[in-house]
């Protein structure tokens, strides 16, 4: 008998806890968070959410329509026992408005008795063309919301220094954009994301970094996870795909495969080839 090396089993690779995405006091079974906007119909949204495998969905706070109301509410299509809602502050351009919208979102979720009442996706925008975050107002709003007891998941650009500032301000998760919201350009600067992950996880490996915005297709999601992101948040890539339910299914698999590939440990990149078949015992001649 030769001494065979032990076979690493699949179950050995990801410890059961690491299957969960932990953000503040929340534990999510799926590392994919999906938005509920831009669907052609609420039924299509519902089926897409199911296909994505996600158990956390983002929602926006808007004026109740007093006229022309169809009588249908988004919440009629979201199983509140299944999904944790993550209210956002989308459309806010200053810290005061963001805090105001976050409070209103919390108020609604409290009355729904949804666990998402204590957290918020903070988004303070700088301009409507790029939808890039206003870093100064974002930091200001983050501090104000943390002081009010919110667990803040903070949308930001892929600037590592800003990411460090937001974590220091008490953000429960920093959520760098891969590229502009809804642009579908994927992860434009993987090196910045690498630096953010290195900085935010230094001495704090479980600190959650979620790539938010810019995803165009499934490979973008896998890439984010392969880089070491803890989660991905996306909306348009599913909602505006030609077949949203199919794309949602693809995103679910991309999440699983990207995360697993990260945990499995990729091989280093090399300039030259390394043969997969042994040189030993070869019967062929060599040109050199």
């Amino acid at each position: 008998m030769t001494n065979e090396p032990p076979v690493p089993a699949l179950a050995d690779l990801p410890p059961p806890e690491s299957k969960l995405l932990r953000v503040g006091s929340h534990s999510l079974n799926s590392r994919l968070i999906v938005g509920t906007g831009k669907y052609d119909s609420l039924q299509l949204m519902k089926e897409s959410l199911e296909a994505s495998g996600s158990d956390c969905v983002t929602v926006a706070v808007r004026r109740e329509k007093l006229y022309d109301r169809e009588g249908k509410n988004l919440l009629d299509y979201i199983d509140l026992a299944k999904y944790t809602l993550l209210p956002n502050t989308a459309g806010c351009y200053n810290a005061i408005d963001a805090v105001r919208v976050a409070r209103l979102g919390r108020e609604i979720l409290k009355s729904l008795e949804n666990p998402g009442a204590d957290w918020v996706k903070l988004e303070v925008l700088g301009d409507s063309k790029t939808l890039l975050p206003d870093p100064i107002a974002t930091l200001e709003a983050c501090k104000m919301l943390v002081a009010e007891g919110f667990q803040v998941l903070c949308y930001t650009s892929d600037d590592p220094i800003m990411a460090v500032r937001l974590k220091a301000a008490g953000a429960a998760s920093v959520m760098p954009a891969g590229s502009p919201i809804g642009s579908g350009q994927g992860i434009l600067n993987p090196n910045n994301l690498r630096i953010i992950l290195e900085y935010l996880k230094a001495g704090d490996p479980d600190y959650p970094v979620i790539v938010d915005a810019g995803v165009g297709t499934a490979s973008d999601v896998s890439m984010a996870f392969e880089l070491g992101a803890d989660g991905v948040l996306l909306n348009t890539a599913i909602a505006h795909a030609r077949y949203p339910v199919a794309m949602a299914t693809a995103m679910k698999h991309a999440t699983i495969s990207g995360r697993l590939a990260y945990q499995a440990g990729r091989i280093p990149r090399r300039l030259y080839a390394t043969a997969s078949s042994p040189e030993d015992g070869s019967i062929t001649s060599r040109p050199w």
Partner: protein
């Protein structure tokens, strides 16, 4: 009648109307809503007692699809 601004629209309501009266009149599903009166959130258990005053600004918001 008094004049209030309700979700950005100037509206006339009866004197001594409450927040609840406004919600019932507007057929709003209050379970899915939050109410802000002059920038302050009105707790649900105060809807029936909070009186509206002339010039009040009321916002009734709900959740919609978003990313």
């Amino acid at each position: 009648m008094i004049s209030i601004e309700f979700n950005g629209i100037v509206s006339q309501v009866d004197k001594k109307s409450t927040v609840l009266d406004l919600l019932v009149f507007s057929k709003v599903q209050s379970r899915f809503c939050a109410v802000e009166l002059n920038l302050e959130i009105v707790p649900k258990d105060e809807y029936a007692t909070r009186l509206l005053c002339d010039g009040d600004k009321v916002e009734v918001v709900t959740l919609v699809g978003g990313g």
